[in-house]
């Protein structure tokens, strides 16, 4: 289970900036403010530790009464997105329920992170788009076989199509993580994270940004 500290936010889009020597850094902008702690999971009560984040204010009429009850209990304004992220007990202890999460308390510049988002949905897609198949020849008498994938197996042996063959189907709208991206800048005032590289998902999609699982930063010292 991933217990790295992290936040949820909204993907704003891409931009670039110049370093003093003139090289260009391409960055993805993630907005994670106002981000508040709506609740906590504790080992005593729930058997695990987690922080429940609320992101993006919303009118009271747009949340259900049970949801509103949870917000009232935490004494925070209703939020559009509520997500639970597992974490270590020490990290959870840093935040009170109802507290606003400042990004510089979670991330430092230059550190590696993992980002997770839901890719843009493309619906039911053929093999050419989904798997980059070449398709068939367009001429020489081709009849209704221009965007097909070709053969899907042999005849008598094994007498069936093997599993996991690349075919058409739903493409996109799946949760994808990108590991080991680098934080270029943390703007706690505006609540912005600038991350080198791309994060899956559409603009205004909800993304999760956590410390890198496979690249631990040296703590302390």
């Amino acid at each position: 289970m991933n217990t790295q500290p992290g936040v949820i936010g909204e993907k704003i889009g891409f931009t670039q900036y110049f370093t003093p020597d003139g090289t260009v850094k391409r960055v993805c902008v993630v907005k994670a403010a106002p981000l508040v702690v709506v609740g906590k999971r504790t080992v005593e009560k729930d058997g695990y530790t987690a922080l429940i984040y609320g992101f993006d204010d919303v009118k009271e009429k747009h949340v259900t009464k049970p949801e509103m009850g949870a917000f009232k209990k935490a004494n925070v304004a209703p939020k559009r997105v509520v997500r639970e992220l597992r974490c270590e007990a020490e990290f959870a202890a840093k935040f009170e329920i109802g507290a606003t999460v400042k990004l510089d308390e979670v991330f430092t510049e230059g550190q590696f992170i993992d980002a997770q988002g839901v890719t843009r949905g493309r619906g039911f897609t053929g093999v050419m788009r989904r798997w980059n198949f070449a398709g068939g020849v367009q001429t020489h008498g081709t009849h209704e076989y221009r965007r097909h994938g070709g053969s899907i197996g042999t005849n008598m042996t094994p007498g069936r199509t093997l599993p996991n063959l690349k075919m058409g189907g739903q493409y996109g709208n799946e949760t994808v993580s990108v590991l080991n991206l680098k934080i270029a800048r943390v703007d706690a005032e505006k609540g912005l994270l600038l991350i080198e590289g791309g994060i899956p998902g559409s603009k205004s999609g909800i993304v999760t940004v956590r410390h890198a699982v496979k690249k631990r930063i040296k703590r302390g010292g």
């Binding site: 704003i12 889009g13 931009t15 260009v24 902008v29 505006k190």
Partner: protein
């Protein structure tokens, strides 16, 4: 593409360049880092296109050097651009002058504003 947050982030990157347009002849003084030394190289040619996109803006300059066409794309707001001089103003009727690539010699010229 006008996202207020990104426009705000980019606003600090923007730098002032002289006003030049597609078809103008410009001299771009470009800093080149060689090891630990800087020197300035001048690239003079016709502006083929301007891509206006905040801090990501670019412009392309084309010149013919020893009979070979050379095009360079410069990032408009790059700190590596020392300065841009406008040599002459051109008169053109389109936003992208890609047709110059197919022309040679006299046909590959852009009419000067002074002559027009």
């Amino acid at each position: 593409m006008n996202i207020p947050i990104i426009a705000d982030l980019e606003s600090s990157q923007l730098r002032e360049l002289p006003d030049f347009r597609v078809g103008d002849t410009v001299r771009v003084h470009y800093k080149i880092v060689e090891g630990d030394k800087d020197r300035i190289q001048v690239f003079q040619g016709v502006v083929l296109k301007r891509h206006r996109a905040g801090a990501r803006s670019t412009f392309s300059v084309r010149k013919v050097s020893f009979g070979v066409g050379v095009e360079r794309v410069f990032l408009s707001h790059s700190p590596r651009i020392d300065k841009v001089e406008v040599v002459s103003r051109g008169v053109v009727r389109r936003a992208r002058l890609f047709y110059l690539r197919e022309h040679q010699g006299k046909a590959a010229r852009v009419r000067d504003q002074k002559d027009a």
